[in-house]
C-alpha cells in the first residue's frame, strides 16, 4: 500500500487528453490509407521477394553451390552479374554529381530577378514531363547515326564520320542528365530560397567577394540540401532501366543492375535470381545513401534565416 502512495498523483485529465498528449488521437485515422498501401504494395511484396532469394533454382544450386544461399553466391561469383554494380555506379554517381553541381549556379542565377526568368525556369523543368522513354526516343532521333545532329555535323564538314552518341555510355549519361537535372534544379532552388538573402548582403558589407560569400556562407548553408538532392538524383539514376536499354549498350557498357534483374526475370524465368539482384541493388543504394547521410550529419542543419 505504501508503495502506491509514493507514486505521483494520477493525472485528473480525461483519458482522451492523456492519449492526445502522447500523440494518439483521431487524426491517426488519416494514416490508414497510407498504411494499407504500404502493407499491400511494399511490405508484402518486398518480404515475398526476400523469401524468393532463399529459394534458388536447381540450375543455380548445381552451378554455384551454397544451398539456400546459392543466389547470393552466384551474384558475387558471377562476374557478368557482379560487374553490373560498377557499371551502374559508373553511370549513376557522375550523373547525380553533375546534376547537383550544375544545378547550383543555375539556381543561383535564376534566384535573381531578370527578364525571361519564368521562361528559363520552364524550359529547364520541362523535361520532367517527358519521362524516360520519350527522352530516349528523342535522343535517338536527335543524336543517332542518322540523327539531325550528325547530319548537321557531316554537312558542315566538322566530322568525316557520324559521331557515336547513342547506343553507348554517352547516350545513357545524356538521358540521365536530361531527366535528372530538372529534379536537382527544383530541389536546389527551393533549398536556396530558404537562405535569407540579407546574409549575402551582410557578407558583402563585411568585405567578402563573391567567391568568399559562396564558399563561406551560401555553400555551408546549402550543403545539407545538396546532400539530400544528391541522394534523390542518385537513387533515380541508379535504377535507370528504359534509357539503359533504349539509348544504351544493353549487353556492354550500360549493362546496369536493373537490366540484369530484368534479364533473369524475363529471359531466364529465374524469379529467385531476379529478386536477389533487385535486393542487392537496394543494398548498394542504401550503402551510398548511408555514406552521404553520415557526411550530412556533420554539417550545420539549423535555421538558414529565410522563409523556407
Amino acid at each position: 500500500m505504501t508503495a502506491f502512495a509514493e507514486r505521483p498523483a494520477r493525472s485528473t485529465a480525461s483519458l482522451r487528453h492523456r492519449l492526445a498528449e502522447r500523440g494518439i488521437d483521431s487524426s491517426l485515422w488519416l494514416m490508414v490509407p497510407a498504411l494499407v498501401f504500404a502493407l499491400a504494395l511494399f511490405v508484402y511484396p518486398f518480404s515475398y521477394g526476400i523469401g524468393l532469394t532463399f529459394q534458388p533454382s536447381l540450375a543455380t544450386q548445381e552451378q554455384w553451390g551454397g544451398g539456400v544461399l546459392a543466389n547470393y553466391v552466384a551474384f558475387f561469383r558471377d562476374p557478368f552479374v557482379f560487374d553490373s554494380i560498377w557499371i551502374t555506379m559508373r553511370l549513376a554517381l557522375p550523373a547525380a554529381l553533375f546534376n547537383v553541381v550544375a544545378s547550383i549556379p543555375v539556381a543561383m542565377v535564376l534566384r535573381r530577378k531578370f527578364r525571361f526568368k519564368r521562361l528559363m525556369t520552364s524550359v529547364l523543368v520541362l523535361p520532367i514531363t517527358l519521362g524516360t522513354v520519350l527522352t530516349a526516343q528523342g535522343l535517338l532521333i536527335f543524336a543517332g547515326r542518322q540523327g539531325w545532329l550528325n547530319r548537321f555535323l557531316l554537312a558542315t564538314g566538322l566530322v568525316d564520320q557520324p559521331v557515336q552518341l547513342v547506343n553507348n555510355y554517352t547516350g545513357v549519361m545524356f538521358s540521365l542528365i536530361i531527366t535528372g537535372f530538372p529534379f536537382a534544379f527544383l530541389l536546389v532552388s527551393s533549398y536556396l530560397s530558404g537562405i535569407d538573402p540579407s546574409l549575402d548582403s551582410a557578407a558583402r558589407t563585411l568585405g567578402a567577394g563573391w567567391w568568399q560569400r559562396f564558399r563561406r556562407i551560401t555553400l555551408p548553408l546549402l550543403a545539407p540540401g545538396l546532400a539530400t538532392t544528391f541522394i534523390l538524383t542518385f537513387v533515380l539514376a541508379f535504377s535507370v532501366f528504359p534509357s539503359a536499354r533504349l539509348v544504351g549498350d544493353a549487353m556492354g557498357s550500360t549493362r546496369v543492375m536493373s537490366l540484369m534483374a530484368f534479364r533473369a526475370f524475363g529471359e531466364q524465368n529465374d524469379y529467385a535470381m531476379a529478386s536477389t539482384i533487385a535486393l542487392m541493388m537496394g543494398v548498394v543504394e542504401l550503402l551510398v545513401v548511408a555514406v552521404v547521410l553520415a557526411w550530412r550529419s556533420l554539417l550545420y542543419k539549423g535555421s538558414t534565416g529565410g522563409k523556407g
Binding site: 546574409l199 548582403s201 563561406r216 538558414t304
Partner: protein, 384 residues
C-alpha cells in the same frame, strides 16, 4: 590598440536618387555628414529611408547622384570594398558560425593575421558584453544578444561609417530602451559616425545629433532634434514629431506676413474656429492643416477662460492611464477626434472644454509637395 572608428572628415551625398522601374523610391537627397555625427533617417515605411541606407552601403546601385567620402567618389566602389559597417533589421547573423566566428568574419576577409583577429574579436565581444556566449551559435541567443553580435560584427572592422537599418524594431519595448542606450554609448565611446534608419520618432530624437525626415522618397526637413521638435517645417514633419492632432481647415483671416512665416491666422476647422500661428507659406486663404500636440491642449476647469479665444467643446470618448498623466480622446460635435494629455482624468461621456495657446497651434499649408523640399535642400547644403 583599442577599437576606434575609421577616420574621415566628411561624407557627402549629392542629389542621390534611386528608382525602381518607374517608381522613384528616393530623389534628390543632399546631405553632408561630419565625422562622429549620429544621423537618423526618419519616416514612415516606404518613405525611402531604407533605400537610402542600402544605396550608401552599396547594396543598391544609385540611379542618380553621387556619394563622396572626403571628396572621393564611393558610389562607384563595390559594397565589399567600401568598408562601411552595416547592422540589419533581421541582424543577418551567419547561422552556421559561432558568435566569435561571426565577428571574426570581416577581419578574416581582410586577411589579418590570426593573432590580431583573435585579439580584436575578443575586444569587440567584450565591448557588447557577450564574453560568456562567444562559442554559441546565433540560434542559441536571445534577440537582444543577437543584436549585440550584429553590432560587434560591424564595429570590429573600425568602419568609417556604421549604417543601421531599424536595428531595434524586432525587440520588445524594454529591451529596445536598453539597446538604445547601448547604441548611443558605443557611438560615443568609439567615436563612430552612424546613420540610423527608423520609423520611431522617439528613437530618432533620443539618439541622433541630426534628423532627416523623409516622405515619399523626398527630404522634408533636416535638423537637430530640438529644431524639428519645436519648428517642424510642414505638417508631415509635425505629425512625426508628436503633433497628434492634425486637422484639415481653411484660413479665414491672417496668414503668412512678409514670408517670415510666423504670422497669426484664424482657421476654420469644421464648426470650430481656431487661432494659431502660420508656418511656411500658409496663405491668407486656402486649405491648411492645423497641428496641436496633445500636451499643448488643456482641459478647462468650469468657469476658466479659454486662452487666445481657442475653445473646443467635446465629449470624452477614451481615457488611458499613462502613469503621471492620462491620455484622453475627446470627440467634438462635428466628429473631430482630439488627443489631450491631462493630469486629472475626466469621466468617459463627460463634456469638457479644451483650450490651447495660439502660439502652440501651428498652421501649415495643406500641400506637402510645394516649396519646402527645395528650401530644405538649400538649407541642407548650408548646414554642412
Amino acid at each position: 590598440m583599442a577599437i576606434t572608428a575609421g577616420t574621415f572628415s566628411s561624407l557627402e551625398l549629392r542629389d542621390v536618387g534611386r528608382s525602381f522601374g518607374g517608381h522613384q523610391a528616393l530623389a534628390g537627397l543632399d546631405l553632408t555628414v561630419r565625422a562622429g555625427e549620429f544621423i537618423a533617417l526618419l519616416g514612415p515605411s516606404g518613405c525611402g529611408k531604407s533605400t537610402a541606407l542600402n544605396c550608401l552601403a552599396g547594396l543598391l546601385p544609385l540611379t542618380h547622384g553621387q556619394i563622396l567620402l572626403d571628396g572621393r567618389r564611393v558610389d562607384t566602389v563595390p559594397s565589399e570594398k567600401r568598408g562601411f559597417g552595416m547592422v540589419f533589421q533581421s541582424y543577418a547573423l551567419f547561422p552556421h558560425l559561432t558568435v566569435e566566428k561571426n565577428v571574426a568574419f570581416g577581419l578574416q576577409m581582410r586577411g589579418l593575421p590570426r593573432a590580431e583577429v583573435a585579439r580584436r574579436v575578443a575586444e569587440a565581444i567584450g565591448l557588447v558584453k557577450l564574453q560568456e556566449h562567444a562559442k554559441k551559435l546565433p540560434g542559441q541567443l536571445s534577440g537582444g544578444q543577437q543584436q549585440r553580435v550584429a553590432i560587434a560584427r560591424a564595429v570590429v572592422l573600425e568602419p568609417s561609417l556604421v549604417l543601421m537599418d531599424e536595428p531595434l524594431s524586432n525587440l520588445d519595448a524594454k529591451l529596445r530602451l536598453d539597446m538604445r542606450t547601448e547604441i548611443r554609448r558605443l557611438h560615443q565611446e568609439l567615436g563612430l559616425t552612424t546613420i540610423y534608419v527608423t520609423h520611431d520618432q522617439e528613437e530618432a530624437l533620443s539618439l541622433a545629433d541630426r534628423l532627416v525626415v523623409l516622405r515619399e522618397g523626398r527630404v522634408q526637413q533636416i535638423g537637430t532634434p530640438d529644431d524639428l521638435y519645436d519648428h517642424p517645417r510642414n505638417w508631415h514633419v509635425a505629425d512625426f514629431m508628436g503633433y497628434r492632432n492634425i486637422l484639415a481647415g481653411d484660413v479665414v483671416r491672417g496668414g503668412a506676413g512678409g514670408g517670415e512665416g510666423a504670422g497669426a491666422a484664424t482657421v476654420r476647422v469644421g464648426a470650430l474656429t481656431l487661432h494659431g500661428r502660420t508656418v511656411g507659406e500658409a496663405g491668407a486663404a486656402g486649405e491648411v492643416r492645423v497641428a496641436v500636440r496633445p500636451d499643448d491642449l488643456t482641459v478647462l476647469a468650469p468657469g476658466q477662460e479659454p486662452r487666445d479665444g481657442n475653445a473646443v467643446e467635446g465629449v470624452v470618448a477614451v481615457v488611458e492611464y499613462h502613469g503621471r498623466e492620462f491620455a484622453v480622446v475627446v470627440q467634438t460635435a462635428d466628429g473631430t477626434t482630439l488627443h489631450v494629455r491631462t493630469p486629472v482624468a475626466p469621466a468617459v461621456g463627460e463634456t469638457v472644454r479644451l483650450t490651447a495657446a495660439a502660439e502652440r497651434v501651428l498652421v501649415f499649408p495643406a500641400d506637402l509637395t510645394s516649396a519646402p523640399a527645395a528650401a530644405e535642400r538649400a538649407e541642407a547644403v548650408t548646414a554642412a
